[in-house]
């Protein structure tokens, strides 16, 4: 089932994916699709807007590199600021998720 992203979740997902290894646009989209098992699909408009915004905020840095297929592409990776951001966002999200689950598990 493919679904819309909840507001505010895209940044966290991208930070988490890029924490593992530097990736380029197509790679990020693929990885997102793969780890969420197709739940989240992202178009290039939202993807690149988010990447540029996060880079401007100093969470990501970018550099041109070569893909496995031998094409030139821009690779993004986490900065130190981005790593701290990932940690704090993760804590925040887990708090929310826990609260949500408890609420939903209340007996009818």
């Amino acid at each position: 089932m493919s679904t819309e992203l909840l507001p505010g979740t895209l940044d966290l997902l991208l930070l988490k994916i890029l924490a593992l290894e530097p990736l380029h646009g197509v790679g990020i989209a693929d990885r997102l699709n793969q780890v969420t098992q197709g739940t989240f699909q992202i178009g290039p408009g939202s993807l690149f807007t988010a990447l540029h915004r996060m880079e401007e905020k100093g969470w990501l840095s970018s550099a041109w590199g070569e893909t496995s297929a031998g094409r030139r592409a821009k690779f993004y990776q986490l900065t130190a600021v981005g790593r701290r951001r990932l940690a704090s966002e993760t804590v925040r999200w887990q708090t929310i998720a826990l609260a949500m689950r408890r609420t939903l598990e209340l007996p009818q």
Binding site: G45, F48, E56, K57, G58, A73, V81
Partner: protein, 868 residues
């Protein structure tokens, strides 16, 4: 987000925008390429793979735009883009742009200049502590109309009787004195001040001790800087004021220039050194300043003074008729009582410059409305294509901002040129004045703001309306709003008002210019050409009465025998000078005011004043006789039998004066009616320490220099003041100065108004012709002759001109009647000025509408028909 990374991104996106964009393009290109490569490997053809990718990603251009507009600084980038577009749009219609900038510049510049002048003359308060609670006290005689200084007993009576309204009363008598310090003698205007003067003014002068010490002197900051080069060693030293020793105890604070807003007092001396004045020992020729107690208003002070005046007027043994005491606030030149040419002039010019501001604003509104209507279609197309309303409005605002920026800069140049041009006029005042005419930036900002608000409204509202209206209508060419009769009527009304205001400005400018010409040729009763005046101050040299009389006789004798000199005389008062004296005269059962002068027998011959009856003074006259002028003869003896009659004056109530001759009246002040005047001889027992020498030497080169050199050779100790020719003396504040000032300012404002009217009429007619291009094309195609087309176009503007000019004439009559006191020698309704200005306005207005009409009539009808 951290500020540093934000600024870094901003810098990259704005400054290295090309690089950032190329990088983005490459990145997105790589993405699209990889995606379509995948689709191809999945089995699609190259073309359909690319198309599928493009569809999926929503279009490459769209993608780029999405990412770019989310970048930091995108809003700024957009603004810069819009501003650039606005500038390009303005460049496409250079004439409208130029007219708008001109109107801005005129409106702002003229107002800033006039307000700076008025501010300098009228509104700058005294630089003292709490100037609002400081008032001036004067005596008035209701019978003669003259104001006098307050006598010492009266001053003391006020101080003791009105202590409930005044917390302090100080006196300051202005006098021109000689200051000898070391070897140099400086001539300066100083005040003899009471001990508490600085306390009452609320000015700190360390060193001034007052009564406890001997004679003291304080120098003004500017005088100390200019004559003593700021040397602190001066303080504590001994100097001589008119030959009497004083100790210089201090320097007044910078900016403090004495008792009057305009007068620059250069020094302050203990009043114990004040010599007896020419008006007798009892009268103070002084400013009497009083400090109101906290919470006491001017009206309460007047009540308190009226009570004391009543008591003084009915004092036993010395009743005084018509005796009044008044308190006035310092209002710069507005301060003096009665008709005041400077105050009236300032009011008139503030009004005129306000009119210029309104005209300029009307012009801009009109031009922008026309412009907005012409761009109706562009705005509608942009709105139809999805242009946001706010962005269209911003576009209009940006164009207005460019215009305001250009106009504002041009306004500074124009305004400072205007105020420099007016203040450059030679002001022959005879005393140092302290007027700050500096360009007033607050006024500039206020005028700029007012114009900007009006211009923004005129620019933005039509844009917003265009964005709201149905795009389909606009695109069909029905351009509803642009041709709406309501808006055309609004613009027609604006132009009508512009014509009215401009005509009024031109007429008033013409009146002032003609008044100056009339004033220059006005009969003044004597011949100023070939005269040289020198004022001699024997008291400044420390001379007593006997020594002074001896000096004056020697000086007169010496200049009289100079080669080429036909006549010379001495007088107490010189026409158009800074001082005039008057008194109350009782004669033939009447009491009225009259001016007087003390003169030597040659005065009449030197000044070229005609003798009408009897004789003039001769060397054997010493007292008991007087020569009166025609105005005084007519006032007291209308039957024409003045000769041999006697009168008394308040100057010397015990001596009655017999009229031995009648002479022609002379003007002593161009702004005032002729004063009845009487002349008496100098008397040994009434010593006058300051006298002016009149020397007539027709066609003698360097007469002034010769006279000055001879007087110096005679006695270098007596300072020579106000050395000027007869013509120069006419340029003083009582003479032509105010007329030159008024004529120059008014004619400039008139010219600016004229220019605005031309721009306004031309702009609106040209625009309405452009709007009617198709209609005119149809007419021409159907056989209308050019004359008929031109007539049709011009009929509308003739109507506008006619109503505008009618209103303008009415407005001009109103202003001229208000300014009547400033216009001498001509009627305020001077027919040649009114007629000439009206003809000029009509001619220019018709020409401004004829040109676009002829262009329309001669246009190719086919081209006109296709135009829309």
């Amino acid at each position: 987000m951290s500020l540093i990374s934000y600024l870094r991104s901003l810098y990259r996106n704005l400054v290295h925008r090309g690089h950032a964009d190329a990088d983005l393009d490459a990145e997105l290109g790589a993405y699209i390429a990889e995606q379509s490569e995948r689709k191809r490997t999945a089995g699609l053809g190259t073309a359909s793979a690319a198309r599928a990718t493009a569809i999926e990603s929503g279009g490459v251009e769209q993608l780029r735009h999405t990412v770019r507009s989310a970048r930091v600084g995108a809003a700024i980038e957009l603004l810069v883009q819009d501003a650039g577009y606005a500038a390009r749009r303005l460049r496409q219609s250079p004439s409208t742009t130029f007219a708008c900038i001109l109107a801005f510049a005129i409106g702002i510049g003229a107002n800033a200049a006039v307000f700076s002048l008025a501010n300098g003359l009228l509104f700058r308060p005294l630089p003292v502590n709490d100037p609002a609670s400081l008032v001036y006290l004067t005596e008035h005689n209701a019978n003669s109309g003259w104001s006098n200084g307050i006598s010492r007993p009266d001053r003391d009576a006020i101080r003791d009787g009105a202590s409930d309204v005044f917390s302090g009363l100080a006196t300051a008598a202005l006098d021109e004195v000689g200051l000898r310090s070391g070897v140099a003698t400086h001539s300066l205007w100083a005040c003899y001040i009471s001990d508490n003067f600085f306390d009452v003014m609320g000015v700190e002068v360390p060193g001034w001790r007052g009564r406890t010490a001997g004679p003291e002197m304080v120098l003004s900051f500017d005088f100390w800087q200019s004559r003593f080069h700021g040397d602190r060693g001066v303080v504590g030293g001994t100097a001589f004021v008119d030959g009497k020793a004083v100790t210089i105890v201090g320097i007044a604070p910078r900016g403090f220039h004495g008792v009057s807003s305009l007068f620059d007092t250069q020094g302050y001396v203990s009043e114990s050194l004040e010599p007896p004045t020419q008006f007798g020992t009892d009268t103070l020729s002084a400013f009497v300043l009083a400090r109101l107690r906290p919470g006491v208003g001017l009206s309460q002070a007047q009540v308190g003074l009226a009570l004391i005046a009543g008591r003084l007027a009915h004092a036993p043994g010395k009743p005084r008729q018509g005796f009044l005491l008044r308190a006035t606030e310092d209002k710069g030149m507005l301060n003096s009582s009665g008709t005041n040419p400077v105050g009236a002039a300032a009011a008139i010019f503030l009004g005129l410059s306000g009119l210029v501001l309104l005209l300029a604003a009307a012009n801009i509104v009109n031009l922008l409305l026309a412009r907005a209507a012409a761009r109706q279609r562009e705005m509608s197309v942009r709105a139809a294509l999805g242009g946001a309303g706010w962005r269209l409005a911003r576009q209009a605002a940006l164009e207005t901002a460019w215009l305001a920026l250009g106009g504002g800069l041009a306004g500074v140049v124009l305004g400072s040129a205007l105020s420099r041009g007016v203040t450059k006029l030679p002001a022959n005042m005879g005393f140092p004045i302290s007027v700050d005419f500096s360009f007033d930036w607050r006024v500039y900002a206020a005028a700029m703001l007012a114009m900007l608000v009006m211009a923004l409204a005129a620019g933005i509202i039509p844009a917003l309306r265009a964005a709201r209206c149905d795009p389909a209508d606009a695109l069909r060419g029905e351009s509803g709003a642009s041709a709406s009769p309501r808006r055309l009527r609004l613009r027609g009304t604006l132009v009508t008002l512009q014509v009215a205001g401009s005509l009024a400005l031109v007429i008033v400018g013409g009146l002032f210019a003609r008044s100056l010409i009339a004033a220059q040729h006005a009969p003044i009763g004597f011949d100023p050409h070939g005269l040289v005046y020198v004022t001699l101050d024997a008291s400044a040299a420390g001379y007593d009465a006997a020594r002074g009389d001896q000096f004056f006789n020697a000086a007169l004798d010496r200049v009289r025998h100079l080669p080429g000199v036909t006549s010379a005389s001495l007088a107490e008062i010189v026409p158009f000078g800074t001082v005039s004296v008057g008194t109350s005269v009782k004669a033939a059962g009447k009491t009225d005011g009259a001016a007087y002068n003390t003169v030597t027998p040659d005065y009449l011959a030197t000044m070229h004043i005609p003798l009408l009856a009897g004789r003039f003074l001769n060397a054997n006259d010493h007292g008991g006789i007087a020569v009166i002028d025609r105005a005084m003869a007519t006032k007291f003896w209308p039957a024409g039998d003045a000769l041999g009659k006697t009168f008394t004056s308040d100057r010397d109530k015990t001596t009655s004066l017999q009229v031995v001759g009648v002479v022609g009246s002379i003007r002593t002040d161009l702004g005032q009616p002729i004063q009845p005047t009487f002349y008496t001889p100098f008397r040994a027992d009434k010593y006058v320490p300051v006298r002016t020498l009149q020397v007539r030497g027709n066609r003698v080169p360097n007469l002034t220099a010769t006279v000055v050199a001879n007087l110096h050779a005679l006695d270098a100790a007596v300072p020579l003041d106000d050395v000027q020719t007869g013509e120069e003396s006419l340029d003083g504040l009582n003479g032509l100065y105010i007329f030159r000032f008024g004529a120059r300012l008014a004619s400039w404002l008139g010219a600016l108004g004229f220019l605005l009217a031309i721009v306004g009429v031309y702009g609106v007619v040209a625009y309405s012709v452009a709007q009617r291009t198709r209609e005119i094309g149809v007419r021409v195609a159907l056989g209308a002759r050019p004359r008929q087309v031109i007539g049709g176009v011009m009929r509308g503007s003739v109507w506008i001109l006619a109503t505008g000019m009618t209103l303008g004439l009415a407005l001009a009559v109103g202003i001229a009647m208000t300014a009547a006191s400033l216009l001498i020698g001509i009627s305020p309704l001077d027919p040649p000025t009114f007629l000439g200005a009206s003809l000029a306005m009509a001619a220019v207005g018709l020409l401004a509408s004829f040109l676009p009409a002829r262009r329309a009539a001669s246009a190719d009808p086919l081209a006109s028909l296709r135009a829309d």
